[in-house]
Amino acid sequence: MMEKLLNTLKIDALVVGGGIAGMQSALDLADQGYQVAMVEKEASIGGKMIALSKVFPTLDCCSCITTPKMSAVAHHENIHLFTYCEVQSVEENTNGFKTTVLQKPRYLDADACTGCRMCEYVCPIDLRNPFDLNMGATRAVRVPFSTAVPQIAVLDMENCILCGKCEKACPVGCIDFSQQPKLFTLQTDTIILATGFETTKRDAKKEYGAGELHNVIDGLMMERLLAPTGPYGRIIRPGDGKEPDSIAYVQCAGSRDKTLGVEYCSRVCCMYAIKQAMLISGSLPLADITIYYMDIRAFGKGYEQFFQNARAMGVEFVRGKVAKITQDDHQNPVVRFESTDNGSKVSERTHDLVVLSTGMLPSYDTKPVYRIPAGDDGFVYVPEPNSAPCVTDREGIFVTGAAAGPMDIVDSIVMAGAAAMESAAYMSEKQDQAEIHEQAEESEMEVAHV
């Protein structure tokens, strides 16, 4: 792979990750006058949140919250946005951190692309769309999603037949099949890690079908089904397109589970399952919705009321652990569970669709690049989580959002503000020390002169 080394940019702070936490930290720092660089590995910022339908407990539209922030980041005069880039190495020097970043090739001129999608329309090959968790379709050259920021296409060379149709269709002639990866460096005083999370894989538990039952999906897939921009434009099950009449949620399907090595509670699954149940009730008023749970953890502001509202709307809560999910001859998932509501009783129920409330997992190991170890749970290690939740054990590097541990959107935004403040305080202190040092040197010179 040929890599070209570009120039070094001097910037105050580097934010790694363009999800909701990274965007909030970048905006908070930029609003204070700091120059911020944001590096995002995907072709668009927005993170997981831009793919969600609505937030709990207010049921506000996720896109309506995220899109203005994405736009604000892209247009802020103090933010330098680098999408489709990955941090390769971080070296500490006397001025802070020198970060080497790899710009992956989009195979087009990003400055010239207008995001018109003419290339996408003429591309002959259909591919599974990762933004829709592979339920929807996209093309080998595409704008990642309708509200992507920046609105710039990206070409997937691994699935391109090099027919050249996109090149001919592009009105500004920006396709460049010969583009190569490039390296550039950023010199910054501080780094904020906002690398986010992954969710438990749908195939993690063989008891729950090992990902082979098409009508057993996970919470993020249901988010896409509920979103107005979802793959089908309605709620139908991925196995055969049937509109489900009976939907079940299996809680703790990937959290509080020693067999998966995930002993912690993911903190969001109870609430997103309740939220989705309420949204489904709105879309499919006749559908029966059952939530199989061990405990409902409704700890945030307004969360308990939200849970009670779901009960009042007719969502059935069954206390018990689901042992196994199989399917009948009509692809209907059959849930075998032990109910503990009225003594211990093992039962089986057939549903049209089952949603696994999968938990949050660490997505990125910070040790190789940032030399910051992971905690026992695999998320970024924070030495003093109670008094300094954003401060890592490496001076000048801070962490925010779900990179630090499972948390919901509200907590991510709060923590992003805190990380920005910690970072600003660090830079301010560094500046003060530099000025004191400079003054001391000047005084020494004056004394020597006298």
Binding site: D126, A137, A140, E158, F177, H214, D240, K242, E243
Partner: protein, 99 residues
């Protein structure tokens, strides 16, 4: 004249690129051929009468989840359209072609 030279240079460049990405191109060409065949068969199946996913899957002898994915792709790029419901299933038909 210039256009001719440009077109020739472009063709030569594409030829070179195809050579460099030989393995990928061969794999994706196979995928595209298969996809075109499936899309043609789906369009033939629903040309006269709108059908549900299980009905299309039965005619094409294909797993219904795969049929749904192809229909989703065809619908996204305006080849197929929804035409009401048949019980719990959506009916799909060929989208009207632009004149």
């Amino acid at each position: 004249m210039n256009k001719k030279v440009e077109a020739r240079a472009r063709a030569e460049k594409m030829k070179q690129l195809r050579k460099e990405h030989k393995v990928t191109v061969k794999r994706t060409q196979g995928l595209l051929k298969e996809q075109k065949r499936i899309h043609r068969d789906i369009c033939l199946t629903i040309r006269d009468t709108p059908k549900t996913i299980p009905e299309i899957a039965e005619v094409m002898e294909m797993p219904s989840h795969e049929v749904l994915w192809h229909i989703t792709a065809l619908k996204k790029y305006d080849v197929v359209a929804e035409e009401g419901m048949c019980g719990e299933y959506v009916l799909y038909t060929r989208a009207e072609e632009e004149a």
